[in-house]
Chain length 556, copies 2
């Protein structure tokens, strides 16, 4: 039998999939394209490439080599973008530190990562002073400052050098060699609901394949819910959070103008949208709500803004509010462990034209936009029962989303048991409950642990929250399961009113009962009056999701 | 130092890039999408998947296993599409036989490939009878018939079975396992200008990466010169020719309606364009000319047809004629050895809007559309001098196009010397002469061997041909270099007149002299009157390119 493997002639270049190759075309055809930080600093792709070389030279002279972990603590900046390329391109690992978790957790992740170098925005020096003593092997500290770099920052920390000062003295001629495409490119931590944060890693191969598959998916709709080469891109999911969903790599690969907004301030984001003509962003629902609130009654024009939503469910109410402002809003689906993007709520062929004939805010349009949507090419997304058998594609039968794709994490950093649990049976377990529609579109119902099991039925907390949120006067809500002797569990609703609103328990309950009457939801899904409680503020996680873990602790 | 490679937990699915995974989403979201053969046979993607399973079962029972080579001789059919998937998905190699080369060459390629099974359209049985005796190891012969499969074809060949009959009796439940992504998926032969045809192979990894990168590129323009999910796709580059440029894999991955036109008959192609609402095709310039001629004076509406042109240079005259009929025509660039697509003449951002304000047929628009264009992401395309140094990006300095990409062939089948020559210095040598424009767009000037070296200058044969083709009354032309004692070489023009035209040597020469006067071309580039000769017909290669090799033989 002939050898079925393709053999390469000795001189052939057996192209490994490396992060550096996402830059090749950007430089060939978009060298003059702009990148701006807050509209203040502004440079070209050619400058970006030059500074990537300088950063690598600077890190190299600081001892960074293949296998070294380099941590970054910053808001979304041009410096962050430089590290997205320079660090992996050296064969080192970029560790994007989540700066929104507690100082204790940050110290834990820095220790667990084994980071030998830390690039930190000067803003985080006070925080670092708090935790420096608890670092087992304190990293070499490089400080980046937005203001004049000659200004000394009073700090007790052993600052090795200043980012801009040292960069300006470094050569841009660093030679980025080739290496195995399975080399670790990035590391970050996911803060689950239990235990310590878990380290998620992606290889160069995975970063590149995620960029290619997501770009093909985002670009391919005829119109609507799409990214194209003339878009202006601004992330509103932090660059420390799952690589800002991998979108900066895609933006660079396609040569887009990039707007990096620093720390997210609603007014600045809205201003940058106008002044830099931003057309494509992505964020969690909380941020979208914040942007809509910030633009209310103001002269901000939000139309022509394409906004991909992830992190938690996009509710129909929020979706409608965004559509009303002319935002082409649509959900994406994924997790820290999945690259992240594995599905997008793009319309099926033909649907967009039908929508254009009517009102953009039709129920069908809203329903589509809030779904997880259609899987990205190469993604094998199944909704399965407890025996790993596919549930019927009927839009009703619930099961867990399990996945295979070329860009899913292959295990948690140093956590063999959690890794095996994640991949039980050879599929990545999302812990998301979903239904599969006959047309192959996926709709997430809830997180497995958030589903409320009551009287033999499964009630989706997300569905009830969305319905409560549509009651006038309600700002947001969280529905959790509480123990009940008779029913096993019962739903409990925690509700935050809009400022000035006096919406009552009775109003909320009547609304839900009416929906149960109309068979929209199960009767079991309506909380008793004593289980509808008002809060002043909703607890949130570091990435802006409802913190149901803390709510459960309060209730217990 | 920590191990820099990502390690997979034992249960993780370490997703190899295999052809079968291009089907995953097609089936999930486009199971009802249509595929039609000539508008006569019509079935869904779900049927395609079922028949792929049946074909694999049938081949398996015929002895096909991992490493076996299965040859196919057919025009563009649904059966060809089935073999594009079933054969590689079994770990076997699909050999797409070029049926337009001579019987002797076909025999050579069948012998060289080691094919153990041959699926042939009944139309090719007479040809096979001619060459059967010269096959060292005659393959198992499966015959496919368009008409009723019960009809016996009189043939002296040992036909093993009938495709449809045997398929209908085979199980669709074939299990397609996983294997190394570097397994050979396809093999075909490129008929160069010298020596025997050379076998080109691609691995599963390469087929998948070409599909992803090309899809991202084709889909990403804001408007114009793009492929999207609502396009209806019809190949007009044969499926035996570099996998129809890889486009059938992309069409399936994106879930497009696919129209397979069988043998190319201009009238049928034009009719299918209308009846099946085809919106995206690709072909060589000769076929485009044939389509325009076929539609002349007829009621065919060609508007809304996006047509990617490759194989040889798209001339400005042909481009303008296509634009006049409402075809969104644009060039692609690549070779049998390069996947094939490595560049596309899509407009740079902003240019399309400028064009919409004016006439689509502006000189600038035509100039752009005829270029090789911008490299596909991940493609490292350089234009280099003899020392492998990049030529200036000035749009004037000529050099050879050399390439690196994740989907270039890694060597010719069983030809170590030719393989090393192809990859000399670690870059694939295209043997195409080009200039690089300041904006990163590439313009092919000529094939290295076709450039005419005269009086110390290099004259592009393609450029002179395009100018001659614009003279009224000229149908097509070929310019070749002929030996000259004084100048080394001199250009010689071979011209075919349009039917009924009496265009003269003097007219052609005057036109070229005027262009030299206006500094559009060099004075050296104008052939002497004795070196402008009329032919009745132009010799073409099996894929419709000008056969300059034969012209040179005639002249010598």
């Amino acid at each position: 039998m002939p050898d079925p493997l393709v053999t390469a002639t000795p001189s052939a270049y057996d192209y490994p999939l490396l992060v550096k190759q996402l830059l090749v075309n950007a430089l060939a055809v978009s060298a003059k394209q702009q990148i701006t930080y807050r509209g203040e600093t502004r440079y070209s792709y050619a400058d970006l490439r030059r500074r990537i070389g300088q950063l690598a030279s600077m890190l190299s002279s600081s001892g960074v080599k293949a296998g070294t972990t380099v941590a970054v603590m910053d808001w979304d900046s041009h410096r962050y973008l430089e590290s997205y390329f320079a660090v992996p391109m050296m064969g080192a690992t970029l560790f994007t530190v989540n700066v929104r978790i507690s100082p204790k957790q940050i110290a834990y992740t820095l220790n667990d990562s084994g980071a030998q170098v830390l690039i930190a925005n000067a803003e985080f020096l006070p925080l670092l002073e708090q935790i420096w003593g608890s670092l087992a092997h304190p990293p070499l500290l490089i400080v980046a400052r937005d203001d004049d770099c000659s200004v000394e920052t009073a700090s007790s920390l052993p600052v090795a050098c200043d980012y801009e000062l040292r960069l300006s003295m470094s050569s841009s001629d660093f030679v980025f060699g080739d290496f195995d495409e399975r080399t670790r490119a990035v590391l970050f931590y996911t803060t689950g609901t239990t235990g310590d944060p878990k380290g998620v890693t992606y290889s160069h191969r995975q970063v590149v394949l995620h960029a290619l598959a997501t770009a093909a998916t985002l670009a391919s709709p005829r119109e609507g819910q799409r990214l194209h080469r003339e878009d202006v891109y601004m992330p509103i999911t932090p660059m420390f959070h799952v690589l800002a969903w991998g979108m900066p790599y895609i933006a660079v690969m396609l040569g887009l103008k990039i707007v990096l907004p620093g720390r997210y301030e609603p007014h600045l984001l809205l201003r940058l949208k106008q002044t830099e003509q931003v057309t494509f962003s992505h964020c969690v629902p909380t941020i979208l709500q914040m942007l809509l609130d910030g633009a209310r009654g103001d002269s901000f024009d939000l139309s022509g803004w394409k906004m991909m939503i992830g992190g938690s469910a996009l509710s129909p109410g929020l979706c409608r509010a965004a559509l009303d402002r002319g935002i082409d809003v649509f959900a994406g689906y994924g997790m820290s462990e999945t690259g992240p993007i594995v599905a997008l709520s793009q319309f099926p062929p033909g649907a967009m034209h039908a929508e254009a004939d009517k009102d953009a805010g039709t129920d069908e349009s809203v329903r589509r936009r809030c779904m997880a949507g259609r899987p990205v090419p190469m993604v094998d997304l199944r909704v399965v029962d407890g025996d790993m058998c596919d549930v019927p594609r009927d839009g009703r039968t619930q099961g867990e989303v399990v996945l295979r794709a070329p860009f899913l994490t292959l295990g948690y950093h140093g956590k063999p048991e959690a890794s095996e649990a994640l991949w039980a049976g050879g599929y990545l377990h999302s812990q998301d409950v979903a239904v599969m529609h006959p047309d192959g579109y996926v709709q997430i119902v809830d997180r497995i642990k958030d589903v409320i099991k009551t009287g033999g039925e499964w009630v989706s907390s997300i569905e009830i929250e969305a319905l409560i949120n549509e009651v006038p006067g309600v700002q947001e809500s969280a529905v959790i399961g509480v123990k009940d002797e008779r029913w096993g569990e019962r739903p409990m609703a925690l509700v935050v009113r809009r400022p000035g609103s006096a919406v009552s328990v009775a109003t909320i309950r009547q609304r839900l009962l009416a929906l149960a009457e109309a068979s929209r939801i199960s009767r079991y899904a309506v909380p008793e009056a004593t289980r509808i409680v008002f809060l002043d503020e909703m607890p949130k996680t570091s990435v802006g999701k409802l913190d149901k873990k803390r709510l459960r602790e309060w209730i217990d």
